[in-house]
């Protein structure tokens, strides 16, 4: 007896009790759909988180080594990166641009409104904004001349604009960072995606303006734009060596390893996926028990059928396989519907929310195999019960 014939027989039996079969499948459908959706959100979220934190460009970031940072209690000395260092870094082969970043928190005011602990960044290139995915919504980004001037304007974050200006037009207004007046020349777009919640009170200044405001010129971070991704590791090593040589030091600078951060993020999201996925698995388990229950009912109802088949030459194995395939068919249909439902919901999530839910092929295939496995596990007991029946008693069964 072929597999296809068994499947046809199973479909007949399932079709004969449409409503009951559908209700039985609901558990499996919801379980599989839940797992598909959760994994899709997890994978989509991971992709987004990784790209948001590591940027799209080929950037090597040089930062104080953790040992140096600890030894100095988090205070970075004024000569951490000097103009000489910057010149040297520019000459490393493969480096297209050297971008510097300084930051400090400071209170900030506009008229009577005052905000404490605003992050004030100083930068020598608009590339800092680009690598963080920030765009200018109102006003303009800095021009090359602004980076030369000691008193250029400020770009403020969307949240800060709302806080200080409300509905008023912020462009051209003068805010005070500490005691220093600065003109607002632009407002940044609010960040999109699920990072929106991380939106902060931030101000971006050209490096020289920043130095004037804080009366110091220390650079905390250097970002090297590299021509090709393959050169990133080599450029990073050369840069660290150069800085150590210039400062006659060891273990003072290090490359911020984005790959490592990416791996860490994947690790975290993977754990999340597993945890939440197993909650979906529990609903699958409940669905599987539903299948077992209905298969047991089915065996009892069809006792006479079993007797008839045996009297006509069916072996116990034939009967076992028949009921096993019926339970597998039932759960796989449920699984397929669950995958469709899950993919549909994932597509809706992608469409209606900033979240990007991705249903991957391996996950869908896994869903099918999983429901198949459930069919076997929860079909074994009923099928075995059917196969052990006595044909004479079955034929007498009402």
């Amino acid at each position: 007896m072929s597999l296809w014939e068994n499947v046809k027989m199973a479909l007949d039996a399932i079709w004969a009790h449409k409503l009951r079969s559908i209700l039985t499948m609901v558990g499996i459908v919801i379980g599989v759909a839940a797992v598909i959706i959760i994994v899709a959100i997890g994978q989509g979220g991971e992709a987004e988180l990784t790209s948001a934190l590591t940027g799209d460009g080929n950037n090597v970031i040089i930062q104080p080594s953790s040992k140096f940072f600890m030894e100095n209690n988090g205070v970075i000395p004024p000569d951490f990166i000097t103009d000489l260092d910057l010149q040297g870094l520019r000459q490393i082969k493969g480096v297209e641009n050297v971008i510097t970043l300084s930051y400090e928190t400071k209170s900030l005011s506009f008229r009577e409104e005052e905000v404490d602990d605003v992050f004030i960044y100083g930068m020598n290139d608009n590339a800092v904004l680009e690598s963080s995915g920030l765009k200018v919504a109102e006003g303009r980004a800095f021009r090359p001349a602004d980076f030369q001037s000691g008193n250029a304007g400020a770009l403020i974050s969307h949240k800060l604009k709302e806080k200080l200006f409300g509905e008023e037009d912020p462009l051209g207004q003068i805010i005070r960072i500490g005691n220093q007046p600065v003109v607002v020349t632009g407002v940044l777009e609010p960040p999109v995606g699920f990072l929106a919640s991380l939106q902060e009170m931030e101000v971006y200044l050209p490096q020289r303006t920043w130095s004037n405001v804080f009366g110091k010129s220390e650079i905390m971070q250097v970002m090297l734009e590299v021509d090709q991704p393959e050169n990133m590791i080599e450029v990073g090593e050369k840069a660290v060596n150069l800085l150590h040589h210039n400062h006659n030091a060891t273990d003072r600078y290090e490359v911020l390893n984005l790959q490592q951060i990416g791996d860490m993020i994947s690790g975290i999201t993977r754990v999340m996926t597993v945890v939440i996925g197993s909650i979906g698995g529990i609903s699958l388990l409940v669905g599987g028990i539903g299948v077992m229950n209905i298969m047991l009912v089915s065996v009892t109802e069809r006792t006479r059928e079993i007797g008839i088949r045996m009297s006509l030459g069916a072996t116990r194995t034939h009967i076992l396989v028949q009921f096993l395939i019926e339970s597998i068919t039932l759960s796989v249909i449920g699984g397929l519907v669950g995958i469709l439902l899950g993919s549909g919901v994932a597509a809706l999530i992608t469409l209606l929310s900033p979240w990007n839910a991705v249903v991957s092929w391996p996950v869908a295939l896994g869903g099918v195999l999983f429901s198949m496995l459930f069919g076997v596990i929860f079909g074994l007991l009923p099928a075995n019960k059917a196969a052990r029946l006595n044909p004479i008693e079955c034929l007498r069964h009402e």
Binding site: M1, I308, M310, L312, G313, T315, R316, H318, I392, L395
Partner: protein
């Protein structure tokens, strides 16, 4: 040839052992037409189930065509039921969801015959019992007599040498019963061994040998009116 030697059959009910068949010795040769009679509870169906390999004797031997099947395994018995025996039951025992044709095909499914061949043979078998035009009807769309003829077509599909019928006319009116008996007469003429259980002496008279069972023992065995010794 069916050959039973000192066959006992007992059922276990809790701690009690209920003997149903006691020391049955019986030989039915190929091509015989046999009626088994006896009061209710005398063990007729039990005997027929043993002959049909639906059950095994508690003790004694059963040789079917010379082969001892009293100790055969389940797989072997299923094969015997599939190829050598055709069952007809009082309650027809058709699968209600299937059409007449699909019901008739069932033994061929377990014999591993292809769908094409099954369809051809099922239609032939239905035509043989006069139901060629009813092949797509479900059992509920057929009269009792027609259902029993479908069951006979099913019993014949694998061309078995032995037909076993447990009160085949028991649920039918007289004229439908007559029609069924005509078919059994014909099967006997084709050379098959036909064994049927009946309470009706008129039906039993159509067979050539009558066996009377009482309390699990053969008390009378008449071949064409003559007493069979042994």
């Amino acid at each position: 040839m069916i050959q039973l030697e000192e066959v006992d059959k007992a059922y276990q009910m809790g701690s009690m052992t209920i003997p149903v068949l006691k020391g049955i010795n019986l030989i039915i040769n190929e091509g015989e037409y046999v009626a088994i009679m006896g009061p209710s509870g005398s063990g007729k169906s039990t005997l027929m189930n043993l002959i049909g390999c639906l059950d095994r004797p508690t003790s004694g031997h059963y040789y079917l065509n010379g082969e001892d099947v009293s100790k055969a395994d389940e797989r072997k018995l299923a094969a015997v039921r599939n190829r050598q025996i055709g069952f007809v039951f009082q309650q027809f025992q058709l699968l209600p969801r299937m059409t007449a044709q699909k019901n008739v095909e069932l033994p061929l499914v377990y014999a591993g015959v292809s769908q094409k061949e099954r369809t051809k043979r099922a239609i032939e078998a239905l035509e043989k019992v006069g139901l060629g035009d009813r092949k797509d009807h479900r059992p509920t769309e057929l009269s009792g007599g027609q259902q029993q003829r479908v069951a006979i077509a099913r019993a014949l599909i694998n061309n078995p040498s032995i037909i076993l019928a447990d009160e085949p006319t028991g649920a039918l009116d007289t004229s439908s019963g007559q029609r069924i008996m005509d078919i059994f007469d014909q099967l006997h003429q084709e050379g098959r061994t036909v064994v049927l259980i009946t309470h009706d002496p008129e039906i039993a008279a159509r067979a050539h040998r009558q066996i009377l069972l009482r309390d699990g023992q053969i008390v009378e065995d008449q071949n064409q009116g003559k007493e069979v010794s042994g």
